[in-house]
Amino acid sequence: MSWRNPTQLRPVVVTGLLLLSAACIAVGVWTDRPARAAARDTESDVLEYASPLEMLLSPDGARLYVLCQQSGEVRVLDAASYAVLKNIAVGKTPRGFSLSADGKRLFVTNSWDDTLSVIDTGTLEVTDTWVVGAEPSSVVEDRAGKHLFVANRISSDIAVLDAETGVEEKRLLGGRGVSYLTLSPDGARIYATHIYPNQSQHMTELGNRNVPESEITVIDAARAVVVDRIPQHAIAGVFHLAFSSDGRLGAVAEYHPKNLVPLAHLEHGGAFADTLTVFGADVGAKPVEVPLDELERYAAQPFGVAIAPDKSHIYVTCGGSEMVTVIDVPRLLHFIHARPRPESGSYAQDLSASANYVTARIAVEHNPRGVTLSRDGRKLYVANRLEDTISVIDTRTNRVASTIALAGPKTVNILRRGEQTFYTARQSFQGQIGCASCHIDSTFDGLTWDLEPDGFGRDIVDNRLLEGIKGTEPYKWNGGNPNIPTECGPRTEMYFWRAENYDWRKLSDLAVYVRTMQPRPNRWRLASGELTPAQERGRALFVRAVDKFGKPIAEANRCSYCHSGPKGTSQKSFDVGTRKATDNSGLVDTPQLINIALTAPYLHDGTARTLEEIWTVYNPDDKHGRTNDLTKDELNDLIEYLRTR
């Protein structure tokens, strides 16, 4: 072959260019370059999607209120024609809404600016904006119109407000990350659920494994006090709860993590059970947990629940599986009462169970969340959060009768595609899990996991918050992954999904989405930006170079050395004396400190249940910073400062 002959040269050049392109793409992906380039593209192309999260029908059924998370609006649609009547701007990242007892006011919780918008449903204007607690996520009014109850996700409490003035009267202790409130049909009780597990009393010997414990908090609406807590054993992530109209049947959507077995067991159903706990007079004295999953048909990330007015069916949106699961209630109750009941009250491990009561799985669009039924029960509205659409399902045929497209960008940009990839369970074996199964609402899950790459039973690791992760590489607690594409790509594909890999574009989308997650506002910082006296004293301890005895503290033993920079990480690994018998190495990647107050438990394997325990229990030799010279009040100051990071 002569190199002088262009016709002979062309295939070689083309082949070479193709190989070069492939190599460039490969190198680019592995070095994060496409992600960065795409991120730049995205930054100049910020699109404001609606992201419908929740829906409500007006009492007369004439209006459909749609809560749009990303655009910060309530969109009011004509329930017959679906024409837009009005778009009402509310606060930042609204998460929950409900109508007042008389239907004249619509209350909206704005989770990122800690406010509650009050909308007059007559004028469709915002009439008040009340300052409330940290990350308000749900709101209900009691029947008497006396009190508003607001679930604050960050402070894990339920604020009781004067319904007329918005003045807070008190706060009730909720479960950790309390986020969803439901008023019982008779108005007597309010049921609160939470997304992170409560601190467990029962730990394994090494102190880094536990079966999660959650609860349904039951509030007496008239007295505004907690009267009961229904235990949710082995549950971490409890979402919407609904009642039948006669109040005899309650149902709540939940994640049932199997975090005591290695995550490698996906092919054996070993990561999550997606379940529904049912309770009430129809069920019996004790609640019963039933799975929604079926072999090869998982119902990943169950979220919204609606029960038909005639109590014939329960509808559950499954955000990761992009479908609505339909349960035949008589068959479900027959299953519960006819079968021998496990002592735990849970059938979660039985993948054959759901065939007895799940009668349909209706495909909808990306990340279905909120769900509501028409008054006659014939139409089921489903908010497809990452598609900006509402699926209208005919409940007689269990088919999508129509799809309402909400106004917004027509382009699906890289961030939106990345977020869809983050939430979907399509990528994993049998569609069992998605990134968001562990990173609930793009955060974390409060659990420790045994990931296979390090060996079964080895290197138990705490799940970390993703917000602000950009610029904190390497990733993993052992610092083994140099960049996000590696973290999200081969590692996730091989060890988590155990199924098909991402194509480069999907991986880039995902990496860009993860890289651009913005930290939520820090609730411990003063609005002025100044530090309180305690925080200022704590900051001085954080940066100090001399201990209380006047001795210099070695550079590597100062808080500010390892936890340096704006995100609180030097991006290097250190041995801070926390190695357990099951750990392969004592070297641990320095975690970022962003919003560290939210992310208990702590240390690489979650053994420290609180920030205090990092130093009071797990730093006996001062290897995790020089702290043993501090008094208790000085340690408290240090923690007050850390909470501002």
Partner: protein, 365 residues
């Protein structure tokens, strides 16, 4: 015959006079005895369901009664006792103090191993290792608004329930000479600490400043001048009500109205013992005292003491009037033991924690 008739008449007349005098005397006696509350005491011990007879504290929560014992936190509801212990999440089995958050219904328990919050059946515990609590030995606890105040063996702590912030108060930032804080009374205006060996500490909620009240006689066990100031430095209990401060010490008790002190000793009051474990004010005039020699009530003038007799062990009630006259009152019941550690009220009834059981004093007409 005439003589015998006359003498009979005289005898009848004298009898009538004597009877009348007796009635009159009786009437005088009834009027003179101060009308102090009378109770029929029902006592609870391990035999009736308590987990332990050593009852350190008692808390009335509507129809529920909480008893902090040496072996768990017991709650009496619907005529039955239920006990929470460490397996349920309680910080320690020995419960030394209790407080009710009246707004939320949550109960706070100070124990020998930390502070526990009991809310709707769930127990969360805070220790010196897992939280900012100053010390695990929590002698006293009080709730005011969003703040939970604790008296511990290493000073005072305040937990803000909204922010989760712990603030510690000790010899470094208050005039607390000793850091053995024994009890706390938290109100919207003032927070008072009883400090064992360091008098009374006062925190002004408005200004955020601390003040201190000491025994003007210092550590001298003698009271040189009566009503000069706080009776003693070893303060065991404090109760602030209607802007009146009631103080218990191991060497007598005090009352302070913001300007004047009034002290109580056995020698000049109806207090059954100077060794007082607890004081609980009803209002600015009236208070109850738990001593090592019985339960005492002061109505502003008169005293009543309720106890098993120190000599016979039989139920005993005595009333001391303003002149110092002590009159026994016939009773058939008494608190379970003379060593009284805790007091709380349920309407007109009283609940008393003692070293040998819990007593329910049911008010008699």
């Amino acid at each position: 015959m005439k003589k015998s008739v006359v003498s009979s008449f005289l005898m009848i007349a004298m009898l009538a006079v004597v009877t009348q005098l007796a009635f009159a005397a009786s009437a005088v006696s009834t009027v003179a005895l101060p009308q102090m509350p009378r109770y029929r005491f029902e006592n609870f011990t391990t035999a009736s369901g308590l987990p332990n007879d050593h009852v350190y504290c008692v808390l009335v929560d509507g129809d529920r009664i909480w008893a902090g014992t040496e072996d768990g936190l017991a709650v009496y509801e619907n005529h039955a006792w239920k006990t929470y212990n460490t397996k349920d999440g309680l910080a320690h089995r020995a419960v030394l103090s209790l407080a009710l958050d009246k707004r939320t219904g949550d109960v706070w328990a100070g124990t020998m191993g930390g502070l526990s919050r009991i809310s709707g059946g769930r127990i969360d515990s805070y220790t010196q290792l897992n939280s900012g609590l100053s010390n695990d030995v929590v002698y006293g606890v009080g709730v005011d608004g969003e703040d939970v105040w604790t008296a511990t063996a290493a000073g005072a702590s305040r937990l803000n329930l909204h922010t989760g912030q712990w603030t510690l108060y000790n010899e470094r930032n208050t005039p607390m000479a000793e850091i053995w804080a024994y009890a706390v009374s938290a109100t919207p205006s003032k927070v008072y600490y009883a400090v064992w060996g360091s008098g009374i500490l006062e925190y002004d909620q408005k200004t955020g400043r601390w003040d201190k009240y000491d025994d003007p006689d210092g550590e001298n066990e003698m009271v040189l001048f009566k009503d000069q100031g706080l009776i003693h430095e070893i303060v065991t209990s404090v109760s602030y009500v209607d802007k009146i401060l009631w103080v218990a010490t191991y060497f007598g008790d005090s009352q302070y109205d913001g300007r004047y002190w009034h002290n109580f000793l056995t020698k000049d009051s109806g207090l059954p013992s100077n060794f007082t474990n607890i004081v609980k004010g009803i209002d600015g005039k009236r208070a109850w005292f738990g001593t090592d020699k019985g339960l005492a009530y002061y109505d502003g003038v008169n005293w009543a003491v309720y106890r098993p007799s120190l000599t016979t062990g039989k139920p005993e009630m005595t009333v001391r009037d303003a002149q110092g006259k002590v009159t026994p009152v016939a009773v058939t019941t008494a608190p379970a033991h003379n060593y009284v550690l805790g007091i709380d009220f349920q309407g007109s009834d009283i609940w008393v924690a003692t070293a040998k059981g819990l007593s329910h004093g049911i008010r008699q007409p």
